[in-house]
Amino acid sequence: MKQKTDPNEDFLKNRKKDEKYVWLCYDCKKFLYTKDYSKEHKRCWADLVENMYDDIKKTNQENLESVQGMSNEFKEEAEFMTKKYQYIEDNNPFEMNLKLVNKIYDNIIELINKKKEESLLKMTTLRDNYMKNLQQNISKIQHMIDKADDVSNKLIEELKSMEKKDPVDFCKGLLTTNVSSDLADDCNDIAIFQRQEFTRIKQSFIDTNTIVFNDSNAVIDQSKNLREFIIEKVNNFYSNYSKYQSKFAFTVVMNKKEFIVYLIDSNKVTKVTYVNDFVIPCYARWVDISGDKLILTGGEKDYIESLDTTYMFKFRKFDGNDEAFSAKVFHKKNMNYRRRAHSLIYFNDYM
């Protein structure tokens, strides 16, 4: 069977070398000479092979250049990232951050544990005092029971003895041994106990019982309320965290009794003059320590000597007015050295 030849292969094999205008028809997928193209393929989309060759060559050259450029950029970035990776791996800043977050949450847990221990201590103390008190009362009553039993026996004996004696003899005996009188005193003691301390014990038992019961419930209520409070606050804290971030930046003014508040969200600056004898020394240095506090150190004393003082400023915003602030100044422990124009930085909660 005769194999059918590819028309394009056939065309290229028998191609006229002197024919310059060779076309490639996209629609018919055939190579053609100009005259054929104009005659039969007027509606087809075709390009001169020479142009296609040049265009494709140019595109390939441009693409090569572009790909090599991108590859070089990738290599540069990969090298940069590898160095960074190595740096991060060597220095491990995440490790420090993990430790810090762990420490902060540990502090919170420690705080709660401290309160837990205090509550348990309170409950244990209530129980111990209650039991001790009860035990003491039982002992006191038991002592009186023993005494009453003893006096009863003695009275029975005395009555038996009286029955055997003549009244005159009995009364004569009173002059030497006054058993009945002593027993009467004992009875009186028991009666006083019954009227006074026994009544107090009975009443106090009822009262103490109620107090201890209520105090014990109060500890439970406090724990439950703390749990509710924390759940609500914690949930609120995480869902509305932005509300808890300080929206103000504070600074003070050297040589004046002034502080400045920058309301960050609204780009507003408020200057506040405070009523206090403390004037910010020249060349003092201060640092923000928690959004609403500043530590201020040192400064110039008399143009030559420096100061070793430390002050803490506590700022407060008044409710209902976004621009109303107050400040309190506290004198803290002096530095070990006098200094001015020094450098100061705040660093919290390291290890």
């Binding site: 780009n267 320590i289 450098s343």
Partner: protein, 205 residues
């Protein structure tokens, strides 16, 4: 009786170098805010009046440049919080800046912002009684300085920056406010409205 363990938090403030009488001092100390006590730490190697301080990765305290009474210091130092007794380690600016005259952090009262794990931004400051607005990034992993977008205007700084919601806020020496937007990495500037005579007062500080 149960004894409750006392909670210990560390809130520290570091005071570095400075001047007393006419003497520059190398003495350094830290203040424990809860205990209300100052504790001495190793002396810094060079006098550095108004050095720029920054903490890196919760571990190192950096003190950049500053003024030694005659000139601005061309070194910076760092202290390892985990090993304070080892003292301050010195870095020569010539080894970390491509061209120390182009990347010039030999100033005092510069501002510093820690951008991320391995970059710090150092800007502004004063040299030869002239304020500057140029800013540089210090790449820790390469131990090199690079130029960054300048401040809006020349300024010098004595306060550490405050972070808020994607930006850093820092008051300059005249209490004007500079904001660095961390998304655009551009500085903005807000001028503090002053009373009459304030400029004269500030000029004397």
């Amino acid at each position: 009786m149960i004894t409750c363990k006392k909670l210990i938090y560390y809130y520290l403030s570091y005071a570095i170098s400075g001047v007393d009488k006419l003497e520059m001092i190398k003495k350094c100390e830290k203040y424990d805010i809860f205990k209300d006590e100052w504790i001495e730490i190793p002396d810094i190697n060079f006098h550095r009046q108004n050095a720029a301080l920054a903490v890196h990765n919760q571990r190192y305290l950096y003190a950049f440049s500053g003024y030694d009474g005659f000139r601005n210091v061309d070194t910076f130092e760092r202290l390892d919080f985990t090993n304070e007794s080892a003292g301050w380690e010195i870095f020569d600016l010539k080894n970390v800046a491509k061209d120390v005259d182009v990347v010039d952090i030999r100033k005092n009262r510069m501002g510093v912002i820690t951008l991320d794990f391995d970059r710090m931004l150092i800007f502004g400051g004063e040299r030869n009684n002239k304020e500057h607005k140029d800013a540089y990034i210090y790449e820790f992993y390469e131990n090199k300085f690079y130029q960054f977008t300048d401040l809006v205007r020349t300024s010098n700084f004595i306060m550490t920056p405050i972070y808020y919601n994607g930006k850093y806020i820092i008051f300059d020496f005249l209490n004007n406010i500079h904001e660095l937007n961390l998304e655009t990495l551009q500085f903005e500037h807000h001028i503090f409205p002053k009373d009459k005579g304030d400029e004269e007062n500030f000029a004397n500080l």
